[in-house]
Amino acid sequence: METHETSTRRPRRRTAEGGRRLHSAGSAIVVSAAGLLVALLLNAPGLHKSATIQPEGWKRDVALGVTGPLEGLSGALLLDRPRAALKEALGRSDDDEVDTAVVAPQPKPTTPVTTPTAPPQRVKFTPEKKLRLWIAGDSLVVVPGESVLREVAGNRALDAADAIEGRIASGLERPDVFNWFTHVREVMETRKPRAVVLMFGGNDDHGFMTGIEGRDVGTFGSPTWRAEYRRRVATVMDTVTSRGGYLVWIGLPISRDADQTLRFDLINSIVQTEAAERKGRVSYLDTYFFFAGDDGGYAQYVEDETGKLVKMRADDGVHFERAAGDLIADKVLERLDDRYDFTSWRTR
């Protein structure tokens, strides 16, 4: 056995390079523990928010059980002030707030938003009158969104500045993580995009919903859950369309996990139904068969039209690789082209 006896005598002071003092292991433990404890109090509002937006489960329960009282104690001791001051100086005072409001748009009395109307005429855009594009959703939307931007590069009839907003771990179930209902409304009111591409649901395949004010929506897939999720999908669709936007909603793809694929199917069916009710204003893009292998199941590598084997899906079995993004982008642009003419200006 390799053992080593160390002296218990009071140590001599010892220094290292630059004259810094070496300390005992006990000091290391005390400084680490005390430093973390004080940091917990100083950062309590942020930690409580981080706990709140965690996925459902015992970890979240424990985290909330710890950070809730900690936030109260931090406030009582005024230890939350430095963080608030720092956040204010950074212009991010809202960072620690949790907004769970699921607010449906107020329909204008003269334009009922849920009644299907005839498809509008194909509207023409030019470099002088640009079509503003906005692509948003959870992390799944980023790669297809980038592909869309690459494909429309150089098209001066499109305004695609700051076009992509992909929020990791967000969705329509958890407005506490990121409130898309508020954000979509704000974007539609301030930036006024006419072409909107959305993709949600990748993080919504579970039964834990926030923003329901004490109501029980049941487990994932239950009738009450479906009703509430349908309401949320409809809210987002109406928020876009009632402000003049044409919406292409990208459906969820087949995933490596067969159970997850089934859950995605349910979400897709809800979105598809709601899109069908808004024909001419919302277009649902089914991506399921883009990424199925020869056996109809999940495939990470798929042959492209030239017969070349290409990696379509990321190693996590859910996210897209560039080739998949390009495939989706082609279809998205086809849908947008059905509704808007942003290419004929070149032939003037």
Binding site: R20, L22, G26, L36, G46, L90, E146, I164
Partner: protein, 472 residues
């Protein structure tokens, strides 16, 4: 289990006191630290633990077998089998699908259908790092530089959690002697440890994440949508992001090891102040550079076989080093650019009559500037998903000057300035800060540490992005 998370903080606050409590008993301590390291590793995927355990068993068995043979031929044969096992494991998990797609597509050009199918293999985190450390152990034993140690010590060496997933690549001679003799609990370099952890967190959470979220991902994702200025700044931003990300990780790893009483080698030495690519590789990911030099370049023949032979070895080393970073041809090109630059520098200095001129301030600044541009150019291929993407970016760099550049904000410029400026800090400054910190009373040290964590947490974005080097 990522370092900048509450989960890791809890894990570490359990491990730290227990580690010191058990330190005097070598066997118990080793069993504890191995268990803790496996728990840490299982945080990603518990199935990977079997792979790590296999690597430990495989390499220890071959190290003992090699050490027990006197015949050079037998030792060499055993070494070859050991290396095939290590590289086979790495090759299967990291390069199998890359090999299949490359082969399929190559033969498809000739209209030949190859019956090989990609397997969608999940890459175990850290496999490149612990495989290289395992190889260095077996090779050192083969060379007679190192006698095999007990299984517990070797397992602690290979699995020690501070270096497990992204290095630094610590050599047996550097860590194993420390693992054999308990650390002295009276003398711990706490001020350096806290300084490294604090600066590491700041560089990762604030600088790297800010640049990734505010310019790099957007520019590399869709370069055609951005102005030339945004693309240029995006490339510089990526060079700072990858440095801040990896330097930050390494600092935290070294700091954590220091708190446990262990010293790791330095991994960075202001690489963006390098005056040549040769100098850059003495400063960037230094433990990988040393590994490639000692276990690849020199065994290939190094500079012992004439000029062209040396060039070949340099190029091969950098190409393989590029491929080590990722299973993609863009990484090979990245290695090729560095290899070409190293060859060019060696050729330049090897010209008849070449005399090294003394450094002047202006000449040094010029060399630093040119070196940084070459490094940044190579990063384009490192970051891009494909050659087409890299080409789009390069093309855009020259074709969209004068267009609006909303991504070039003061925040982005400031983060780049901090990243580059940190390379030029006087060396005595961190030492003075650490010395001042070390002389504070213990409660004051805790308060300083807490406020440092406040700044990092408040300035960083929500959530924690994984470290870039975890994917390698």
């Amino acid at each position: 289990m990522l370092f900048p998370t509450a989960t890791f903080a809890i894990f570490f606050m359990i491990v730290l006191p227990l580690s010191w409590a058990l330190m005097r008993s070598g066997e118990s301590w080793r069993a504890f630290i191995i268990a803790a390291s496996f728990v840490f590793y299982a945080g990603w995927d518990w199935r990977f633990c079997f792979l790590l355990a296999f690597s430990i068993a495989w390499n220890q068995a071959f190290a003992l077998a090699i050490h027990g043979r006197s015949s050079k031929h037998a030792r060499k044969q055993l070494l070859v089998v050991a290396l095939v096992g290590n590289l086979g494991l790495l090759g299967y998990f990291k390069y199998y699908d890359f090999f299949v797609t490359s082969t399929n597509n190559l033969f498809a050009l000739a209209g030949i259908d190859v019956p090989l199918e990609a397997r969608s293999i999940l890459l175990p985190v850290g496999i490149s790092f612990f495989t290289f450390m395992a190889i260095s152990y077996v090779v050192d034993v083969y060379r007679g530089d190192f006698a095999p140690v007990g299984l517990g010590t070797f397992a602690a060496y290979l699995s020690f959690f501070p270096h497990l997933v992204a290095g630094p690549i610590v050599r047996p001679g550097e860590l194993i002697p420390q693992l054999q003799a308990p650390r002295d609990p009276r003398y711990v370099d706490t001020s350096r440890a806290f300084f490294l952890i604090g600066t590491g967190l700041f560089m990762k959470v604030v600088i790297a994440n800010h640049l990734a979220a505010n310019i790099v991902d957007e520019v590399f994702g869709a370069p055609n949508q951005h102005s030339s200025l945004e693309v240029l700044v995006g490339i510089y931003a990526y060079s700072v992001q990858i440095y801040a990300d990896f330097f930050g990780y390494t600092n935290i790893a070294i700091g954590i090891a220091l708190l446990l009483g262990f010293t790791f080698p330095q991994n960075f030495d202001a690489p963006y102040s390098a005056t040549s690519i040769t100098d850059f590789w003495r400063r960037w990911h230094m433990t990988l550079s040393r590994w490639l030099r000692d276990y690849l370049y020199i065994p290939l023949g190094g500079n012992r076989g004439g000029t062209l032979f040396t060039y070949r070895n340099l190029m091969l080393t950098m190409l393989i080093g590029g491929l080590w970073h990722g299973a993609g041809w863009t990484f090979v090109v990245w290695g090729g650019i560095h290899g070409s630059a190293l060859v060019a520098e060696r050729w330049w200095r090897g010209r008849p009559g070449f005399v090294e001129r003394p450094w002047t301030r202006g000449r040094r600044a010029w060399h630093r500037f040119v070196t940084f541009q070459v490094v940044c150019f190579a990063w384009i291929f490192f970051r891009s998903d494909s050659f087409a993407d890299a080409w789009d970016l390069i093309e855009r760099l020259f074709s969209a000057w004068g267009e609006p550049s909303p991504l070039v904000t003061w925040g982005v410029v400031a983060a780049i300035a901090v990243g580059i400026g940190s390379q030029y800090l006087p060396r005595h400054l961190p030492l003075a800060i650490m010395a001042r910190f070390s002389r504070l009373p213990i409660p004051a040290q805790a308060v300083v540490l807490a406020f440092a964590l406040l700044v990092v947490q408040a300035m960083g974005p929500e959530g924690v992005a994984p470290f870039i080097y975890f994917q390698f």
